[in-house]
Amino acid sequence: MVSVINTVDTSHEDMIHDAQMDYYGTRLATCSSDRSVKIFDVRNGGQILIADLRGHEGPVWQVAWAHPMYGNILASCSYDRKVIIWKEENGTWEKTHEHTGHDSSVNSVCWAPHDYGLILACGSSDGAISLLTYTGEGQWDVKKINNAHTIGCNAVSWAPAVVPGSLIDQPSGQKPNYIKKFASGGCDNLIKLWKEEEDGQWKEEQKLEAHSDWVRDVAWAPSIGLPTSTIASCSQDGRVFVWTCDDASSNTWSPKLLHKFNDVVWHVSWSITANILAVSGGDNKVTLWKESVDGQWVCISDVNKGQGSVSASVTESQQNEQ
């Protein structure tokens, strides 16, 4: 049920820290402690190195693809305190912007839903979150939330673009009145939800407390048309929580412990249909989780990358029986 269809030898000279596919799933961007960002064309099981991007002076932690409606754009963040936005122009990738507004390692970058325009959120070890908004003419507007997380912000993740009320209510032709929100997780063990006020300032809307150690990653689930909002978070404490908010107006979030792992959990990622959560743990294991009919999260498989085989767990067969 999980089968390796392509193995990409990145030839990075040091640890890989992130690997992300573009919107179509045809290109792969990787980044590494060797300070480089690489882009591969991985269509049809191949691997063609398209670009080897140099520009960072420290390990590169994360990469993020912008929506293709803005062109081929990739953002990367690094320990060198910089965020670089790369862009493909006439077939070649080049640096198009460098953001140097952070005082410490920038640990996470995430593009806002394309509906808002080109907006990038960056979380840094200096505790701040900065928001870069493209204003045209190669200009980026910067807003900064200082002290978002003391000792550092480890992850940022945007809420899907949902218009309050129904889409139908929107007067046609006008820009829908989106409420922009994102979640962040940090070394203060907190998950914070941020909301853009009407005056364009960002305000902390909510603090989600459940983790007892650094929050390593947060992932806001894609919207599948239901009123429920869902956020997954993972932590140094080995716990993975799934937070849900059924009623946007009351804005109460309730956590459900997905699992307590024995080691740090580094990364959580939702499937596009928001029904499967991939959890990457410090024990070098990736597990996939799915919510069962009775609302419990069950592990449906371990992903054993190296051998390209998969050991389906007991829970999976249970699933099939259901």
């Binding site: 640990n107 070890s125 200096d126 000792i151 580094w266 249909t273 991939a278 990358k305």
Partner: protein
């Protein structure tokens, strides 16, 4: 970066890693006095609350102690995993005592906080360490080489690791090995370090520097390498940290000489072995990599010495340092800005001293040796190298199509040693196998058309009766006599009924057979005749007789009714004509009260609506059966629908589901979807599969039986289908997802999904990765002085640029999918504009990103071609079924708006193309110069219609000739389509219907980023989807005078005035004398040879032949025909200028697409003729 600060002169201990929240315990240090000279001692616990941005630490508890401490550690003994018991605080006192405190009791404020106490040591206890493997084991070191191992479970009697080392000396440091639990090391100020093996109960190795200047102030084991440890020297002459490896214990492995004066304390990070903290008498706190000796970080501190330094076990980026100025500071090594942090106010600092005035001098003591710090660095840089704990070693992220991208950094042992494998794996995640296999089956069925079998299988496999019913109903759709079979399914078999009736008739005449009976009677009566008397008596009979005899049927019937002789009345009424019969029937029904009267009423009156509307819902089966039996084909669907709607809205939940059956009979897919969705859990892939199976089959059935245009997809169905496609895509079945995605819808999300799927399939991106969306251009609107006039168009822009263009420009390209007939294509093309604009834009986005530049780049093109929009109706008219016509004008209106905004076209156009911008544009491209303004309107006499001769009237020879010429004319389209291409004369001819060539352009004027992309080849590739052609047909730079090359195709022929010769070709002269033939003749009769000596190029010929074809096919509108007649007339009279004026009028009033192919040439001919005065 400093996080917190406490003013204490104290030893410090962090709570164990397991503990949450993080506490810091401080115990007043021995042998140090602060400015109060107080000898009081206390044990305090603070909480590290990082969510509080202030520098203050939250004090949790203070316990006044009688002891002062040399060493304080916090062990996790007896802590459970939840950290409910917060371990044990172990303190080393001045008088050889070791005291165990219960921190939880201290925090709780208990008085009895001491767990146990033992003063076995003879001198101050300076060294303490907890075994990390057995946390009940504590090692302590004091004077006289005393080392004890304490078991916290049995605290009374300590053990010794072996015989005391000689000579006797202080034990200043002690440390358990981090890898091997029975190994312990101790060190003394003399510089000697001893390693003990507790299993052997003796020292196993002694480490000492030969120069004897080491003065050990710190000892620490390597967190990961069992044989390595570091020793720090307090001696100013040798302020070093030595790294020893016991495998080679004769000399230090490495010596770190980073401090200028003696080192007072060290701490090795458990989280990252490359981080060793050291603080010295040079007032520096350094973080170095003991494995390389490199200094990674120097903490910004004040100039005070620190005598104790500790990593926070739980938060690896945090450390605390106790300095001699009576302060414990908590730092982060990750750097950051202190701007946001509230610095402790200076006045607060001094005021704290103000209270401490031990001498009563009234003068607060100045802080010792504290030069006020220079301007505080607001920015503190982090470590030079990233600490291990922020280096993410693993990750798995989902991407489109159910793909999972994973990487891990596993060291693989190879011959070269450990190597990192830098591989990224892309995996396919499939979680819904059953869903996929069922979807496969469905697809196969659709392809193989084996619907009946499929339905039968489904019936056999059905779990519930309802499911069975639904499938049976669906199956019937594909069988003959579907209505009869529906009836059977409802329990009304004709054969059965016949038998039953026969039975009933044989027995007694029951009420059941009322109708039959009546009929039979009425049949029998006349035949049972014979001689009879005509009574004319005064009774009713007589009156009836009289009435009949006088032909007064009405009265006779009334009389019969009055006498309750219903049968007679009815029979008479039949004779009396339709009207009377109807009235009589009504009266009869009014009188009759039988149970089944209403049914009979409905049957006779054919008023099924009444039945459906008013029947008891319990009898829905009967109602449905009646409808199935009687309803006329044209009202059948509506009635089923109505019944379904009633069931759905009025019935209970059971009946609601039955409504599905009615919708199946009605063939109403959209309502079936709605009804089904209501009843089912929509999120489960399998239930969605259930629905989609039924819907797909029903759609096929409807296609077969009702010949309806099922390409129209309702909103709800479209949503379900795209949900389904999304699910398929998420399982990696991208091809299947594409197959199921509705084709003829313009709902933005579906259009987007389709594009994404196609790209995800790995189709080569057109134009070689060249940015379809030059977003530099997107920005231009901002810089342009001209504000965007109307916001409504903005949403369209992103769509345009977003969809890939090139070999298969999406909007039309999508039509290539599956079996597309021109009908649909036309419909789609004409409809898409409207939809595009009236629906939610696919990518609403803020104005700044509108790529107006792109537009202005192609503005001329789009503007020039906009006038084609009105062609949509005409094209659609060829296929009257298409329901889309209305939407086209709305779009063309928009386009006009757009064009006007760019000031390229005259603003005089109305949506219906009465005066589209064509004249100017057309003129401009003919002359290659600025467009001539359209001439004023001409009132031409309305032309006679029906004067067009059929093509067959033309001689066959000419027809064939024309055919070939027409082919060439098609080629002539080439230059138009790709302005930059020189006219390739030998393009493959296409034999297509004209309307196809003039398909209205797609709404999205694809940004002509790739105009060089060979449109001709595309033309050939996609003969059935002409959309792309017209799409491409926008002239990229018609307004650029520099774009001359692109004009060659047309200009050359124009410049060479010799085109008319072909007009006088003899074979054309043979055209019949019909009006059109005349026109042609007139035109052809132009003495072109006189105009020029050069041979006329083929293009003009082709264009004209194109016109002839049009004329023959009678596809031109009467107005144009009229105009052409007028032109012909003016040519006859050599009045070319009048001809030109008429020409202009035609162009300005007619449909551009209709005329664009030949009018320019006509104009050229006229102009030339006029110039030359032939």
């Amino acid at each position: 970066m400093k996080l917190k600060e406490v003013d204490r002169t104290a030893m410090q201990a962090w709570s164990p890693a397991q503990n949450h929240p993080i506490y810091l315990a401080t115990g007043t240090s021995a042998q140090q006095l602060d400015a109060t000279f107080s000898t009081n001692a206390s044990l305090e616990i603070f909480e590290l609350d990082l969510s509080d941005p202030s520098l203050d630490m939250k004090s949790c508890a203070t316990f006044s102690s009688s002891h002062r401490y040399h060493k304080l550690i916090w062990g996790p003994h007896k802590m459970d995993s939840k950290g409910n018991i917060s371990g044990v605080l172990i303190a080393g006192g001045e008088n050889g005592n070791i005291i165990l405190y219960d921190p939880s009791k201290i925090i709780a404020g208990d008085k009895e906080v001491v767990i146990a106490q033992n003063d076995k040591h003879t001198g101050p206890v300076r060294a303490l360490d907890v075994n990390i493997f057995q946390t009940n084991l504590v090692a302590s070191g004091a004077n006289e080489s005393e080392i004890y191992i304490w078991d916290l479970n049995n605290f009374a009697t300590p053990m010794t690791p072996g015989a005391k080392t000689q000579p006797l000396e202080d034990i200043s440091c002690i440390a358990w090995n981090r890898q091997v639990q029975h190994i312990l090391a101790s060190a003394s100020p003399s510089g000697r370090a001893t390693v003990w093996d507790l299993r052997k109960n003796e020292p196993i190795i002694k480490v000492s520097d030969h120069n004897n200047r080491m003065h050990c102030s710190g000892l620490a084991w390597h967190p990961e390498v069992a044989t390595q440890m570091v020793l720090a020297s307090e001696d100013d002459r040798l302020p070093v940290v030595q790294v020893w490896d016991l495998r080679f214990a004769s000399t230090p492995l490495r010596v770190l000489e980073n401090h200028a004066r003696g080192i007072l304390a060290i701490a090795w990070s458990m989280a990252d072995p490359e981080l060793l903290l050291s603080c010295g008498k040079d007032a520096k706190i350094l973080c170095s990599n003991p494995n390389t000796g490199e200094v990674l970080y120097e903490l910004p501190t004040n100039t005070q010495w620190c005598f104790d330094i500790q990593w926070c076990p739980r938060n690896p980026a945090v450390l605390s340092a106790a300095s001699f100025d009576g302060r414990i500071s908590v730092y982060s090594i990750m750097g950051g800005s202190t701007d946001g942090l509230r610095q402790k106010q200076a006045d607060k600092l001094s005021s704290s001293f103000g209270n401490l005035d031990p001498f009563g001098t009234g003068q607060p003591l100045p802080p010792l040796q504290i030069p006020q710090q220079a301007a505080q660095h607001s920015i503190v840089l982090p470590l030079k190298k990233p600490p291990k704990w922020i280096r993410r070693p693993i990750g798995a992220s989902f991407s489109f199509g159910g793909k999972l991208v994973t990487f891990e950094n596993v060291k693989v042992q190879s011959q070269q040693g450990a190597e990192l494998q830098q591989h990224v794996f892309i995996s396919q995640v499939v979680t819904e196998k059953e869903f996929l296999s069922r979807s496969d089956q469905l697809q196969q069925v659709v392809q193989s058309q084996g619907f009946v079998n499929y339905c039968q299988k489904k019936i056999d496999a059905s779990q519930s009766d309802f499911e069975k019913n639904v499938w049976s109903f669906l199956k019937v759709n594909f069988e003959d006599d579907s209505r009869g079979k529906y009836l059977q399914l409802l329990g009304y078999s004709k054969e059965d009924l016949g038998k039953k009736i026969a039975l009933a008739l044989n027995k007694v005449d029951g009420p059941n057979v009322h109708i039959k009976e009546e009929k039979q009677e009425s049949e029998f009566l006349p035949s049972a005749g014979g001689p009879f008397n005509i009574s004319i008596s005064g009774d009713i009979d007589g009156l009836i007789t009289q009435a009949l005899l006088t032909g007064n049927f009405e009265s006779a019937v009334d009389l019969c009714l009055h006498d309750n002789r219903m049968a007679d009345a009815i029979i008479l009424a039949i004779a009396g004509g339709q009207e009377l019969l109807a009235r009589t029937q009504k009266k009869y029904f009014a009188k009759s009260q039988s149970k089944i009267t209403r049914l009979i009423t409905a049957v006779v009156m054919k008023n099924w609506k009444e039945i459906v509307e008013s029947c008891d819902l319990k009898n829905w089966r009967e109602a449905l059966a009646a409808v199935l039996t009687y309803a006329k084909p044209d009202e059948f669907s509506a009635l089923c629908d109505l019944l379904g709607t009633r069931l759905e809205s009025e019935g209970d939940s059971l009946l609601q589901t039955q409504a599905c059956l009615c919708y199946i009979c009605a063939g109403n897919v959209e309502k079936l979807v709605a009804c089904w969705t209501k009843a089912q859990d929509g999120n489960n892939p399998l239930s969605l599969q259930d629905l989609i199976e039924k819907v797909v089959i029903l759609r096929k059935a409807v296609q077969l039986t009702q010949a309806m245009d099922t390409n129209t997809v309702g909103v709800l169905l479209a949503e379900k289908m795209s949900q389904y496609a999304n699910l398929l895509a998420a399982q990696g079945s991208i091809a299947a997802a594409l197959a199921f995605l509705p084709e003829s819808t313009n709902q933005p999300n579906i259009v987007q999904l389709r594009d994404r799927l196609r790209r995800a399939q790995g189709e080569p991106v057109p134009g070689q990765e060249s940015p379809q969306v030059p977003y530099e251009r997107q920005q231009l609107p901002k810089g342009r002085p001209g504000p965007i006039a109307d916001h409504t168009q903005i949403p369209r822009v992103p769509t345009q640029q977003y969809y890939p263009h090139g070999e298969n420009p999406p909007p039309p390209g999508f039509l290539m999918h599956g079996n597309v007939n021109p009908n649909v294509a036309a419909a789609q093309l004409s409809t898409s504009p409207g939809h595009m604009h009236t629906q939610v834009p696919p990518y609403p986005q803020p104005q700044p990103y509108q790529p107006v530049q792109q537009y202005s780049f192609g503005t001329g093109g789009s503007a020039t071609y906009r006038p084609q929009q009105p062609a949509a109706p005409s094209a659609s008219n060829a296929y009257p079924n298409t329901p889309y016509i209305p939407s086209a004008p709305s779009y063309s209106g928009q386009s006009q708006l757009y064009a006007a905004q760019h000031q390229v076209s005259p603003p005089t156009s109305s949506p219906t193309a009465s005066l589209p911008p064509l004249p100017s544009s057309g003129a401009s491209f003919q002359h290659g110069g600025p467009g001539a303004p359209p001439s004023s309107a001409y009132a031409l006499p309305p032309g006679t219609t029906g004067t067009l001769p059929a093509a067959s009237e033309l001689p066959a020879s000419q027809r064939t000739e024309n055919q070939s010429v027409q082919d060439q004319a098609n080629m002539l389209e080439g230059p138009q389509n790709g302005w930059n291409d020189p006219p390739a004369l030998n393009r493959v001819p296409k034999k297509k219907k004209m309307p196809e060539n003039f398909m209205p352009p797609v709404p999205i004027t694809s940004p002509i980023m790739n105009p060089m992309g060979d449109p001709q080849s595309q033309m050939l590739q996609q003969p059935s989807a002409p959309g792309p052609l017209s799409n491409q047909a926008s002239f990229p730079q018609p307004h650029l005078s520099g774009g001359q090359p692109s004009f060659h195709g047309l200009q050359q022929p124009l410049g060479q005035p010799g085109m008319p010769p072909s007009f006088s070709k003899p074979n054309i002269e043979g055209a019949p004398g019909g009006p059109i033939g005349n026109t042609i003749q007139h035109v052809q009769a132009l003495p072109a040879e006189k105009i020029t000596k050069k041979p006329i190029p083929d293009d003009a010929n082709k264009r004209l032949e194109f016109l002839y074809d049009k004329l023959r096919e009678q596809t031109l509108s009467p107005t144009i025909i009229n105009g052409l007649h007028n032109i012909a007339r003016s040519i006859e009279t050599r009045n070319y200028s009048e001809g030109l004026t008429i020409h202009t009028h035609i162009v300005s009033t007619s449909n551009f697409s209709e005329t664009s192919a030949f009018m320019p040439v006509l104009k050229v001919v006229l102009t030339q003729a006029n110039k030359l005065g032939v």
